[in-house]
């Protein structure tokens, strides 16, 4: 769900644009730490992945299907700062090329889907990861809970923004409950898909999952005495 133009008044849109610009500026510095001079190609390709995977329809339950928003998943895969850049770039392309999400609402969308969803999703993931046992199950559980909570958190911030600068006079409480309720369901879908994708990457290339670095054991190279003779023969 991208916020279109005309939903929030000009003041609120400008305010969120300033927040988004500050967040992206921070992310540009943070991503240099995560990726150094590889930032541009790696973040670009990851953004292309996020864009493609958002087009994939996953069956969720009761005949409904959903697609990934991908904030939490991207943050766990490539690190939170790079993820903010990826999601920002995806939102820009969607607004500019597909008119999905308003141009004046770009700051709002980056704040909600980029900053809030990633901050909550990744924050919850890190907090749970520290508490839960350092196993595959523990990691996937933290990722699932983080992804689940990231969606209603973004919806909640949207309701707050709507209360500040919305153009309609609605009972904020009831709208808030409805929005958060719907997004709890969407969050369940997000969690299921995030865990499925993350589990698959963990199985094949665990070294690519940045959030699972602590599961990697440092490999120590040691001579194998039983093979020492054979190598000596080969070397001759």
């Amino acid at each position: 769900m991208h916020v279109p133009d005309g939903f929030l008044d000009a003041t609120t849109s400008t305010g969120t644009a300033v927040v988004a610009a500050a967040g992206v500026a921070l992310a540009l510095r943070g991503a240099r730490r995560e990726l150094d001079e590889r930032t541009a190609p790696m973040a670009g390709l990851t953004a292309a992945f996020v864009f493609a995977v958002q087009m994939m329809n996953f069956p969720v339950a009761f005949g409904t299907s959903g697609h990934l928003m991908g904030g939490a998943l991207t943050a766990i895969l490539v690190g939170p700062w790079t993820a903010v850049l990826c999601l920002t770039v995806v939102l820009m392309v969607q607004a500019l090329v597909f008119a999905d999400g308003g141009l004046t609402a770009l700051g709002t969308n980056v704040t909600l889907i980029g900053l809030v969803a990633i901050a909550v999703g990744y924050g919850v993931f890190r907090a749970l990861r520290a508490v839960l046992p350092a196993t595959r199950t523990g990691l996937l559980t933290s990722a699932g809970v983080g992804a689940f909570l990231s969606v209603p958190a973004a919806a909640l911030v949207f309701v707050l923004l709507f209360g500040l600068g919305g153009v309609a006079d609605v009972a904020l409480g009831s709208v808030g409950i409805a929005m958060v309720g719907v997004h709890l369901l969407i969050g369940l879908g997000e969690a299921v898909i995030t865990v499925a994708v993350l589990g698959a990457v963990l199985t094949v290339r665990p070294d690519l999952v940045r959030g699972a670095r602590h599961l990697q054991r440092a490999r120590t190279l040691a001579p194998r005495p039983d093979l020492a003779g054979a190598t000596a023969v080969d070397a001759r």
Partner: protein, 260 residues
């Protein structure tokens, strides 16, 4: 929801050689953004607001006629706002304030105005952005953003994303064809066992491709910035042409508030 993104990035552009196509991209970006700002700034409660919206629509249709963008292309652009139509339709029912009877339903007056304005404003700016995308290809948009001083790293990330979206999307499509030609039907939760790994391997392939692209760039002397060509000088005439859209919109707004 990201519905209606099918067909990749290149599908949004309608090739042509109209005065709108020929404008420098950064002037068009500024013009469309300014137009959207004017549309958003239209007061919600004013009685003349519907007239202003009609005026804005006439302006956009004029630009579309000059750019020779077909009505069908504009209508397809509107698909993205479908989820918000539901929200706008709900507003008259859930808003507070004095109520009025429409066809036997008790609706909130302020909710009607707000729902209508949301729908009108969203539609107008989606149309404006669709016109921009239909007359400016993705690479030109990127050049425009660069001239508008978007941080270089962000422009580079955007350029890599735009360059490789069709490649990554093509991989996704081939995986789907392979799945479905083996009888896969993703209808229930069990399908995640197949789709999860598919998305996972898409990530691995994208990431590894990124590493290869980076190495290829290094071997060609990449130092952290990409070479850009000469920058075209944009005169006052070109800016005036581009900004005629938002200026006309401001005129409509001013006329509405004076006469209304």
């Amino acid at each position: 929801m990201g519905a209606g993104h099918g067909g990749g990035l290149s599908a949004a552009y309608v090739a042509g050689d109209s005065p709108v196509h020929r404008l420098e991209p950064h002037t068009k970006l500024v013009a469309v953004l300014a137009f959207a700002l004017v549309v958003v700034a239209t007061p919600v409660g004013a009685g003349w607001a519907p007239m202003a919206y009609a005026g804005f629509l006439v302006l956009l249709l004029t630009v579309a006629a000059v750019a020779r963008v077909r009505p069908g292309r504009l209508l397809r652009g509107l698909v993205v706002e479908v989820p918000f139509v539901f929200f706008a339709v709900l507003l008259p029912f859930v808003s507070r304030g004095p109520r009025t009877d429409v066809l036997g339903l008790s609706l909130s007056e302020s909710g009607l105005a707000a729902g209508g304005s949301i729908l009108a404003k969203a539609t107008l700016s989606v149309l404006a952005a669709t016109l921009l995308a239909a007359t400016t290809d993705a690479r030109a948009l990127l050049r425009g953003l660069e001239r508008l001083r978007l941080p270089t790293v962000l422009v580079q990330i955007l350029s890599f994303m735009i360059r490789y979206t069709d490649v990554v999307g093509g991989e996704l499509r081939r995986m789907r064809v392979a799945r479905e030609s083996r009888g896969f039907r993703g209808r229930h939760l069990g399908a995640l066992k197949v789709l999860g790994p598919a998305a996972g391997s898409l990530f691995i392939r994208s990431y590894e491709r990124g590493e290869r692209v980076h190495l290829a760039m290094l071997s060609r002397g990449y130092t952290g910035r990409l070479p850009t060509g000469p920058v075209a000088v944009v005169g006052g005439r070109a800016w005036a042409t581009a900004l005629s859209l938002p200026l006309a919109a401001v005129a409509v707004l001013a006329a509405g508030s004076l006469l209304g």
